[in-house]
């Protein structure tokens, strides 16, 4: 099947409690190098703002990144807000970074149950592969 589109529109964001931004700068470059369009919302994004921006942009993918060790609580909360919007119920939403202070493993299940499509640690290749895989879904 010929792909209808090769570019995804992506909303990239931190979570409410995290003021780090170098991770977001880096991921924007990664996504742009794959040919995608990125709206980067930056640090300390309140839940309301993230929901509003996602409704406004209607993205093909939402990427949350957090490295301050508290990302999993913020992530679980905000993904439920996103999933509660009918427009975003089926939008791929992923999270990655340093999500907990004591290893990421035990957070993953909670995050997936809360509504994320995928949870990444710092494995950027796995993230790239996931994004590539989405092109097929978008085309379909």
């Amino acid at each position: 099947m010929e792909l209808a589109r090769k570019r995804l529109s992506v909303v990239l964001s931190s979570v409410a409690s995290d003021s780090h931004t170098w991770n977001l700068v880096y991921l924007q470059l990664v996504l742009e190098e794959q040919g995608h369009d990125v709206v980067n919302l930056g640090a300390c994004v309140p839940d309301d703002l993230l929901v509003a921006e996602c409704l406004r942009c209607d993205p093909d993918l939402v990427v949350l990144s957090s490295v301050n060790g508290h990302g999993s609580q913020d992530g679980e909360r905000v993904v439920r807000r996103l999933r509660a919007c009918p427009e975003l119920a089926g939008t791929p939403v992923v999270i990655g970074g340093k999500l907990g202070v004591d290893g990421d493993g035990r957070h993953t299940g909670n995050l997936l149950r809360a509504g994320f499509d995928a949870v990444f640690s710092d494995d950027v290749d796995a993230f790239r592969a996931f994004v590539d895989g989405l092109l097929v879904r978008v085309a379909a």
Partner: protein, 730 residues
């Protein structure tokens, strides 16, 4: 002058760099303990209360709830704690001789300033731009209004002081001119709202020479804009991705201290060896304060520079902003809206986000693009930033300072052709020329050393000897010249060699930065001499070699980044002498597990080495950790009449020496004690039985010595043909 600024000014006038930690604990007792340790540190210090992140964002109720639940916060909640609690934290500590500054990071600082004024503080830091753009989503316009009110409140306190955080902006990849401009502009904003005591900050970046220019630019702009005010410059040790190794972290900190002293900076905020991992302990903070202070003490100021390109760009940025409005707050908002100020990689909605910086091939920060800023754009061809080049740039300083001594030498061709190797070899040539002249002038004869023999120095610390087939006999490559030196006394009272040694050190020593399998010693032996006579010759020789290099090769040292001030103390003061027993006691006291009956281990030697500003002797090692030829003390059995010379700054041992055993019976007894078979030492023992003079002597490890003089990361850099233990090489 009183208060914070007055204290710093007095220290600066006295030639002391003020060093300061970042330190904050929610528990009042712990916070007080941190302040006491800061005050008692062997350094000129001011104290810090770093606030927690709840207080930073104004969530004081959450801070109170956490305190009530007994949860630890990541700083001191000055608003949530009542005034009496805070008073008890600083009681008897805070004063004219120990000011305490509040550090926070807030874009809405009014409640913090209220609380600090209420509790008797008069110094804090931040700024409308520097605490808004990088860490907050608050619109810049609101941050400006908040900081206007905070400044006015603080300015009403006599002697109050406010430091701009503008010299940090994102911590890394922001070229220095923009840091300098924002620092000056925030200082002007403070002054416009009544502050009379101001410090301008600059955060150490990627390149010492560029940082030096930036500091001179900041100083020149300070003189132009802040005349009549109480102002000084504060340096932040590197604020980006920090080295992970202790030596990398401490070296980066020492470089920040040297930067401050060289350029007239008055105060330094330190970072610790824990920086890359976690919030540091009080002890780690004290270590950092003392390490920075000792690096500063070995440094002197440079002639004042004009700030060069950094000054010109910063001045253009400042003028462009000042031309926008007489009201600096309004000018800031317009400048960011127009992109006249544009912080690279800053994602704040009020930042234009068109500027980019990178680390260029020479290690300096450069513009990739300047956006709409009124300064010349990128010079030459610069590749765009990619995700992988961004990671490389962000870790540039970390890699440079962590650069592991385990890294192997390049190919022989590359190593020999490298400008560093060539410069180091010329320094070695100069040092050896000076040594030969000194020794000859003092009646020594240079002999050429034996390379192989039926037996050699049995060696120490686990190294192995190399066997050579000599007409069917098993001969050895020399591990040291000791046996032949003693023999030569039969013909010469005072002699020396520059002798090659081969010791197959265990492969794990490849990573110590101080072991080579093949190296050279400047080997000296003096008939009829005492240990003290030998130590005096060592001291004179070291001083003569260093003096010659410092005097005749300043450009070469500069090229290697070696500060000649590191030798200031060595050249004028006698080397300290301490016993092995006292060195062991010192190490045990600071918690290093050192056996009293053994050689001081590498790590212990490095700890002692870092505590000194010039080489020092350790004497009287216990029998058992040295060879049979070191003479035993006749009055104190079990103690040897020997010594090591240890270099400062962590370079470790440079030289070993002793009075020698020369009587047949004693030598044989000592051989047996050390597990050596006297039967192997035929020719030597035959000679000793017939009588050799008593003597004292020593060997200076030439590559180790040159490593110290040239300030090299690893000893292999001081060898033309390096042989790293366990590695196949040329």
């Amino acid at each position: 002058m009183t208060g914070f600024g007055g204290f710093v000014a007095r220290a600066h006038a006295a030639g002391q760099l003020v060093v300061q930690p970042r330190m904050g604990f929610s528990d009042p007792g712990r916070m007080r303990g941190g302040l006491i340790a800061t005050k008692l540190a062997d350094a000129t210090t001011v104290g810090t209360l770093t606030l927690d992140s709840y207080t930073r964002v104004g969530a004081n109720d959450e801070a109170r709830r956490a305190l009530a639940e007994g949860a630890a916060l990541n700083g001191y909640p000055i608003v949530a704690h009542d005034a009496a609690t805070t008073a008890s934290v600083v009681e008897g500590l805070r004063g004219q001789d120990f000011p305490v500054q509040i550090r926070h990071g807030s874009a809405c600082p009014e409640h913090i300033v209220d609380a600090l004024v209420r509790t008797g503080f008069d110094a804090t830091e931040g700024g409308p731009v520097s605490y808004c753009l990088p860490y907050s989503r608050l619109p810049l316009r609101e941050s400006v209004r908040n900081w206007e009110r905070a400044c006015q409140r603080l300015a009403a306190v006599p002697g109050s002081h406010l430091e701009t955080f503008g010299g940090c902006m994102m911590g890394q990849l922001c070229p220095p001119s923009l840091l300098v401009a924002i620092s000056v502009l925030e200082g002007l904003f403070f002054a416009q709202h009544g502050m009379r005591g101001i410090s301008l900050s600059y955060a150490q970046q990627t390149d010492l020479a560029q940082d030096t220019d930036a500091m001179f630019a900041l100083r020149r702009l300070g003189e132009e804009f802040f005349a009549g005010l109480d102002w000084h410059i504060v340096v932040y040790a590197y604020m980006g991705v920090y080295p992970k190794t202790p030596h990398g972290a401490l070296n980066l900190l020492a470089q920040a201290a040297r930067l401050a002293v060289r350029t007239g900076g008055a105060r330094l905020i330190v970072k610790t060896v824990a920086e890359a991992y976690r919030i540091p302990t009080v002890a780690e903070n004290v270590e950092a304060l003392e390490h920075a202070a000792s690096a500063a003490a070995l440094t002197s100021a440079l002639p004042v520079g004009d700030g060069g390109e950094v000054y010109r760009e910063a001045r253009a940025l400042i003028d462009a902003v000042l031309n926008l409005s007489d009201d600096l707050g309004r000018a800031f908002v317009q400048a960011f809206a127009l992109g006249y100020l544009d912080v690279p990689y800053c994602l704040h909605p009020d930042n234009a986000g068109r500027a980019r910086g990178h680390v260029d091939a020479s290690g300096r920060l450069a513009w990739t693009s300047v956006g709409a800023m009124p300064i010349p754009g990128a010079t030459g061809r610069s590749a765009g930033i990619t995700s992988s080049s961004l990671l490389t740039a962000l870790s540039h300083v970390e890699r440079t300072f962590d650069w592991s001594p385990m890294e192997t030498p390049p190919s022989p061709q590359q190593h020999l052709a490298s400008p560093v190797t060539k410069t180091v070899m010329r320094i070695q040539d100069t040092a050896l020329t000076a040594a030969r002249e000194y020794l000859r002038d003092n009646g020594f004869v240079e002999l050429l050393p034996a390379i192989i023999g039926p037996v050699t120095d049995p060696g120490v610390r686990g190294s192995k000897q190399v066997d050579v087939d000599y007409y069917g006999h098993k001969y050895k490559l020399m591990t040291s010249a000791i046996l032949y030196k003693q023999a030569s006394l039969l013909g010469f009272d005072k002699l020396f060699y520059i002798a090659p040694n081969v010791r197959l050190e265990p492969p794990e020593t490849a990573s110590t930065a101080r072991h080579l399998a093949e190296f050279h010693q400047l080997d000296v032996e003096i008939s009829g001499a005492s240990r003290e006579d030998a130590m005096q010759v060592v001291e004179d020789l070291v001083r003569v070699m260093v003096q010659r290099v410092v005097t005749t090769m300043p450009a070469e040292l500069e090229q290697l980044g070696r500060d000649a001030d590191a030798f200031k103390d060595l050249l004028v003061s006698a080397f300290d002498r301490r016993t092995h027993a006292s060195a062991v006691a010192d190490l045990l006291e600071i918690g290093h597990p050192q056996s009293a009956d053994a050689e001081i281990d590498w790590q212990g030697e490095e700890i002692l080495s870092r505590k000194s500003s010039r080489p020092f002797f350790v004497t009287d090692y216990p029998k058992g950790c040295r060879g049979f030829y070191d003479r035993e003390n006749r009055d104190v059995p079990g103690m040897l009449r020997n010594f090591d010379l240890i270099a400062p700054e962590g370079y470790g041992e440079l030289c070993s020496g002793s009075e020698r055993e020369f009587e047949y019976a004693k030598i044989v007894a000592r051989m047996r004690e050390t597990g050596e078979n006297p039967a192997k030492y035929g020719w030597y023992l035959q000679m000793v039985r017939e009588g050799i003079p008593d003597s004292a002597g020593f060997g200076i490890g030439i590559q180790r010595f040159i490593r110290y003089v040239a300030g090299l990361d690893s000893v292999w850099q001081a060898s033309a043909y390096p042989k790293i233990p366990g590695q196949v090489s040329a």
